[in-house]
Symmetry: C2
Subunit: 374 residues, 2 copies
């Protein structure tokens, strides 16, 4: 069942029950504005990734600042956005299975919906589902631009798949999905640029080959928070799919900018507020947020603005702290903000966002697509 919200608007932050997923609304809005300002001069559009936030409320705030739509990874996420009024949704992923395709095609009646493929069998299945639903579906070809995960080989294989889409009665060829996920957390700009240069070349070459076959390529989509400034300056990408920029996390904070400074483009706006629930001896303090509440796939969380305290161990429901000196040990009942190691899966653990400004709870937003794996 849905968990009850851990706060009510008007409460002080220290009255929020924990663990709670807290948004610093000032930092969050700074991030929304900053991305819009960075992309405006490039002419490249933002199609923000909703796998990060899973919220039609946040999607609308992005679109109010110029985002042309949203990406999702899953049909269940697309449903939540479409039902929440988001008009333009790309499933930046393959969708396999008749049940999921029927759900996706049903959404095409209330929103502009598109999906990716990397195999002819997927094209046939989507064509059948679209015919069955009596709709037309926009389909992008995903190309493998270096991550060796999903996607066909750039060039002729991608062109052949695009032709198959364009030749299907109920399908529209929408363009290329060209996301290089493994570049996002390379620590230096030079490393990220090396990988994205390959992705840009592969995309440009494929677009040219499509044109030679008479196929226009309306969308070339990709990029994440770690690299969008490279893709958006490439002249070939048309849509940026960054998601994490709204929140940031401890793993993105380990990236460096040009010159070697830590990244400062966006601010940490997402926190897991946690309480010291055990402090039996001065050297030990245990928080009530373990790895069920804070994702540890990309490293442990850090403790916000407390360089004297380290989160050193996560079990299911316990977070063990290491305290620099006895004088700074957090007290039983004290509340600390954690910066998640990885924002996306941390968000997916919670039913509610608690929006905070100037120390007070301003809003509650549901994590509406939480657990939307289908």
């Amino acid at each position: 069942m849905l968990q009850s919200p851990p706060a009510i608007p008007g409460m002080r932050e220290d009255e929020i029950d924990t663990p709670a997923l807290v948004i610093d609304l000032d930092a969050f809005e700074f991030n929304l504005d900053r991305m819009a300002a960075l992309l405006a001069p490039t002419g490249v559009k933002l199609r923000a990734h909703a796998k990060t936030h899973k919220s039609p409320v946040i999607a609308r705030l992005q679109m109010a600042r110029g985002a042309i739509g949203q990406c999702v990874q899953k049909v269940a996420e697309a449903e939540i956005l479409a039902w929440g009024g988001i008009p333009d949704i790309l499933v930046s992923n393959q969708v396999v299975g008749a049940q999921k395709l029927a759900r996706l095609c049903a959404l095409a009646r209330i929103a502009k919906v598109a999906v990716c493929v990397d195999h002819p069998l997927q094209v046939a299945a989507i064509e059948a589902a679209a015919e069955d639903a009596g709709i037309r579906m926009t389909v992008l070809v995903e190309i493998d631009v270096g991550a060796a995960r999903c996607g066909v080989t750039p060039g002729p294989e991608a062109v052949a798949l695009a032709q198959r889409i364009a030749g299907s009665k109920h399908l529209i060829f929408g363009g290329l999905q060209a996301y290089q996920g493994s570049a996002q957390h390379k620590r230096t700009v030079a490393e990220r640029r090396t990988l994205i240069d390959v992705a840009v070349d592969a995309s440009r070459r494929t677009v040219e080959q499509l044109r030679q076959q008479g196929l226009d390529c309306p969308i070339v989509g990709g990029a994440g928070t770690g690299t969008f400034q490279i893709e958006s300056a490439s002249g070939i990408y048309t849509e940026m799919q960054a998601g994490s920029y709204v929140f940031m996390d401890a793993d993105y904070a380990r990236n460096f900018e040009e010159g070697g400074a830590p990244v400062s483009t966006f601010r940490h706006s997402l926190f897991v507020l946690s309480t010291v629930m055990s402090a039996p001896v001065p050297s030990i303090a245990v928080l009530d947020a373990g790895h069920k509440a804070v994702a540890v796939d990309s490293g442990l969380p850090t403790v916000w603005q407390r360089p004297d305290i380290r989160y050193v161990g996560a079990s299911d429901e316990h977070g063990k702290l290491e305290v620099g000196s006895e004088t700074s040990a957090p007290k039983l009942g004290e509340k600390l903000r954690l910066v998640p190691g990885h924002c996306d899966p941390t968000v997916d653990r919670f039913d509610w966002y608690v929006g905070v400004r100037n120390g007070r709870v301003e809003c509650l937003w549901p994590v509406a697509a939480r657990g939307g794996f289908a």
Copy 2:
């Protein structure tokens, strides 16, 4: 919002939408029966840990086989069990914060509820909440039996805390919580025994010192799936708190039994059913279950009964497989069972269990306390 169930009873397993949390009901019932049979001759009781399953349905199946009650880690889990009719619940953890204590005390009107402490301030807070609610609360003293997480030092410090409980008007001293979590996944029996011997000695010594002060110790609780056979033979522990035994996982499967054989006491009964959603080239296959769906804190999942296939990389919603030879490569759309690396946090990602027997869906059970972090 709650996700829709991925199946309906009567479906074939290969019709279940994925990713889905699947229980092999035969293996699951084998585990329930086996634990009951193993504990019966010892006279030690099972108070199964519901942090694993988060389900009043499964709790009732455990109690129908002799379990005297359930453990939980969180008040939100205790609520779900109490509302679901479970009569005897121990929060095997500290509960800090007035809101949580008020919720816990409210449950004492519909179930027998107990909670642990490791600090005098917690005793005072529970006394105040119990007085406020007009109930009496049973309180156990958690002792640190070697894991260096929560718990007071065994011996005089524990006795002093017990006396403080016994001297509180609205509290009842319930006994000792003596769980050694860090022993559960030591790979050899000798390693596990060495650690549990320390826990047993510390518990015995503390019980004796309590008796010397006139304090009876009704409960000495602890143990997990990795060690309960040691604690249950100790003559000092009275309640076993194993949880994972109902499902098992890939991490527990890496433990060895006496003589060096892999553990075979319980069977794998929990799986994440997943679909191959991308297979662009014969050497690559990608599943639709990444680390949002399958917890990776204790290692990657394994592929059930497919030694030729390895799950080698998890991103948010993708699971990358490495295939031994081209002939055995799973096909696009093929469904595979994953054995989660860690059962507890994997369960906590899903809204529904799908119970399967003889290849057919027999039941749907909600993961009722999912996300119950409060």
